[in-house]
Symmetry: C2
Subunit: 417 residues, 2 copies
C-alpha cells in the first residue's frame, strides 16, 4: 500500500468505528476509560521500554535535553496519564445534551442535540501525554480518534495506542476507536489533511510552524489552537500595585505557554511612575525588556524593540514594551499585532474597561486579571483539548462540548408543508 492508501484505510476504519461509537451510553464509555487507565499502569514496563528507545534515539540525534525531558516518561508520568483518563470519566457526557428545544406553532417538536463530530484527527508534537489525553477526550465525546504525534515519540506513541486500543476494545468499544496514523514523515500528515469525507476535523497542537503548515494544506476543517501574542494594557486609571502583580504573573508564572504575556502597553499618563517600577520587578525575575523609544530612554536595561518584537510570541523571559498615548492607541496596537488569544486591561475606569472590551478581537479579554487564566482547567472545564484562536466553532479553551457538533431532530405526526 502507498502512504496515501494506508492513511485512507486507517481513516476509513475510524469512520466505521465512529458510527458504532456515536450511540454508546456514558456507562460504556466511562468503563472503557477506566479500563484504559488500568491498562496503562499494568503495562508500564513495556511503555517505559518503548519510551527509553525514543529518548536514546533522540539523544543520539543531538536533541536538546529540554526536549528530551518533555519526551521522557517515568512511573509518575504514567500514573498521571492514567489519572487524567479517570478524571475525564468523571466529567459529564456532552453527547445527547439538548442545546435548544421548542415546539413550533404547527406542533412540530424541534430539538438541537449534541452528537459526536465523527472522526477527529489530532496532529501534535513531542509530549506523549497528548496521545493519552486526546484519546480519552475523544472516547468520552464518542469520536473515533486518529493520532499523529511527532516522529521523535513514535515508539512511545505506538506502545501507548496499542495498550489503549486493546483495553478499549476489551471494554466494548470498536477496535478502531483509537488509532495511530501510520508513518512518520510529513507525507502522511498531508494525506490526513486532504482526506475530505473521511476526517471531520483536524486539531493541530504545537508551534506556529506546525499550525500554519496545517492551515495552508488542509482541505478538511481545522481548529487552530494556541499561538498567543498576549498583551497587557496598563490604563491611565490603573491601580499600579495591581498592574505590577498582573504583569509579573502574566509574564513570569510560566513563560513557555501560550497564555503568557508577550507585550506590555503602558498609558503615557502613568508611564513615568510605572515603567521604572515594573522594569525593576521584571529585571529581578530575569526578564529582558524590548522597548520603544520612550521605554529605552526611561529604562536603562531595556533594549530597542524592532517590528518583530511586536509580532513575536517569545515563549521566553522577554517582553516587548511600548508607551501609548491613549486607550484607543492601545486598542489599535493590539488589533494590529494580536494573534487573537488573550488581552488584558488593568484599569479602575468602568468607561475605559467597557471601551477596551468591546474593541478587542480575541478569544479572551481579562479585566484586572492575569492572562494566565485563559485555560480550560482554570475555567472549570475539567479537561482541555487546546485553546482555539480562531472564530469558527470554538474560541478560547475547548473542553468536551467543543468536540461535538449538533443535529436537529424534528418530530411530527405526518407533518407536510
Amino acid at each position: 500500500m502507498t502512504t496515501q492508501e494506508q492513511v485512507h484505510d486507517t481513516a476509513r476504519r475510524a469512520r466505521t468505528a465512529a458510527a458504532e461509537l456515536a450511540p454508546l451510553t456514558r456507562a460504556v464509555k466511562d468503563a472503557a476509560l477506566h479500563a484504559m487507565a488500568d491498562a496503562l499502569v499494568a503495562h508500564r514496563d513495556d511503555l517505559l521500554a518503548a519510551n527509553r528507545a525514543d529518548v536514546a534515539a533522540g539523544r543520539e540525534a543531538g536533541t536538546p535535553e529540554g526536549m528530551l525531558d518533555r519526551l521522557a516518561l517515568d512511573e509518575g508520568r504514567i500514573e498521571a496519564m492514567a489519572q487524567g483518563l479517570r478524571d475525564v470519566a468523571a466529567l459529564p457526557d456532552p453527547v445527547g445534551e439538548v442545546v435548544r428545544g421548542y415546539t413550533l406553532p404547527n406542533g412540530l417538536e424541534v430539538r438541537q442535540v449534541r452528537v459526536p463530530m465523527g472522526v477527529v484527527a489530532i496532529v501534535y508534537e513531542a509530549r506523549p501525554n497528548v496521545t493519552v489525553d486526546a484519546a480519552g477526550l475523544c472516547v468520552k465525546s464518542g469520536n473515533a480518534v486518529l493520532l499523529r504525534g511527532s516522529s521523535s515519540a513514535y515508539r512511545s506513541n505506538t506502545a501507548l495506542v496499542e495498550v489503549l486500543a486493546a483495553a478499549a476494545e476489551k471494554a466494548g468499544l470498536p477496535a478502531d476507536a483509537v488509532q495511530l496514523v501510520p508513518g512518520t514523515d510529513r507525507e502522511s500528515v498531508t494525506h490526513l489533511l486532504r482526506a475530505r469525507g473521511l476526517v471531520d476535523v483536524v486539531i493541530p497542537r504545537g508551534g506556529a510552524g506546525l499550525i500554519s503548515h496545517i492551515v495552508e494544506n488542509a482541505i478538511v476543517p481545522v481548529i487552530e489552537t494556541g499561538v498567543g501574542n498576549c498583551h497587557v494594557y496598563i490604563d491611565a486609571d490603573a491601580d499600579l500595585d495591581v498592574a505590577e502583580r498582573i504583569v509579573l504573573n502574566s509574564k513570569t508564572h510560566r513563560p513557555s505557554v501560550c497564555n503568557a504575556a508577550e507585550t506590555l502597553l503602558v498609558h503615557r499618563a502613568v508611564a513615568g511612575e510605572f515603567l521604572p517600577r515594573i522594569a525593576k520587578a521584571l529585571g529581578a525575575a530575569g526578564v529582558t525588556l524590548h522597548g520603544d523609544d520612550t521605554v529605552v530612554s526611561t529604562v536603562d536595561a531595556a533594549v530597542p524593540a524592532t517590528e518583530a518584537d511586536w509580532a513575536d510570541e517569545y515563549l521566553t523571559l522577554d517582553l516587548a514594551v511600548a508607551v501609548v498615548d491613549s486607550l484607543d492607541d492601545a486598542v489599535g496596537h493590539i488589533r494590529r499585532w494580536t494573534t487573537g488569544h488573550t488581552e488584558a486591561i488593568v484599569s479602575n475606569s468602568a468607561t475605559a474597561i467597557k471601551r477596551f472590551v468591546s474593541r478587542m478581537d480575541s478569544a479572551a479579554v481579562m479585566v484586572n486579571a492575569s492572562t494566565r487564566f485563559t485555560d480550560g482547567g482554570e475555567f472549570g472545564f475539567g479537561a482541555e483539548i487546546g485553546i482555539s484562536t480562531q472564530k469558527l466553532h470554538a474560541r478560547g479553551p475547548m473542553g468536551l462540548p467543543e468536540l461535538t457538533t449538533t443535529t436537529y431532530v424534528v418530530t411530527g405526526d405526518g407533518h407536510v408543508r
Copy 2:
C-alpha cells in the same frame, strides 16, 4: 493595482469597518437597515435599469429563460427585498448575548459573550436578492460584508451595493460596512479565499461545483452550505397514509431546493403494498422513479438506477428508490450516500425511531415529517443565511447567531495565578 491588490485593499477596508461595527448598538444598526430598505425603494428605477442591462446581456449570451427569470428584478421583487431588511431589523440582536456566565471559586467572573465574526465574505450565484439578504444579516450581526455575486448579475449587484452602502453610511455605519468584491473572474474569488487574516469566514451559496471549488481552494475558514441528497426511509412499522403524504411533499413541494427528497428507501415488509401506491401518486405528479431491481420489477414506469442515482442531488422531478431488508440496511445506505443535509424516517415504532435517529450523521433528522421542514423560516429563525451541511461551527439552518463568534470576558480585581 493587480486583482490581488484590489481584493486585499477591499478586504482591508472591511476589516477597519468591522472594528467600528462591532460596538454599535442595536438601535443604530436597525435604523441603518430601515434606511437601506427605504433607499432600495427610492432608487428602484436605477436598480431596474441596471438589472435590465444584465438580463439583456444574459439573453444575448443565450442564457436559458429559467435563469434569466431568477436574475430579473421588478418592482415587487425590490419591495420584497426591502421588506426583508425591515424583517431583519425586527429580529433580536445576537451581539452581546451572554451564552454562558458563572463565577469561579476564586471570585473571577467568566462571561462568554456573542461578538461579530468580523469580515464575512459571501460568494453566490445568480439571484440579486442574495446581495440584499446577506448585507442585511451581516449589518444586523455587526459584521462587515464582502459580496461576490455572479458575473451575470454584476451590474445589478453593483447598483444594489451602491444604494445600500450609501444609505448605511448616511445612517451612521462605516462607509465600508457593505462592499462588492471587485472583478468578475474566478481570480478575484481565489484571492478572497486566500486572504487569511483579512477575511474571517467565507460562506458559499450555490451549486455543488461552486462549493467544492471554494472548499478545495480556501485557506480562510469556510462554512459549507446547501447540497442536499436527502433520504426518506419508510419503516416496516410506518403508517402508509402518512408515508405517502410525506414522500409526495418531500419530493414535489419544491423539487429545486436543497431540502427536497432525492432518494426513497422502503422496508421490504411494506414494499409490496407501498411501492405501487407511491409510484401511482408520484407518477401523477410527474416524478420519474429510478429504482433498484425490486422496484423495477414491481413498478412498470420505473427506470433502472445506476450508482450515480444514489449519489445525485437531482433538484428535478426524479427520485431514486430502493428496497431495503432492514432499518440497519437503510442506515448503511444513507451513511454511504448522504451529503449530510436531511434524512427522514416514517415509522410508528419508538424503537425503530430511536435507532435510526442515533445512527444518522446529518444536520437534521425528520421523524414523521417532510424533509422540507429543514429551513430557517420554518424553524422560526426569522432569517437564514444558508443551511450548513458541515459539522464545525453551525449545522443545519443558520440564522443571525450563527454569524457571530464568542469571546470570554473574565473580570477580577487583581487576580493572579
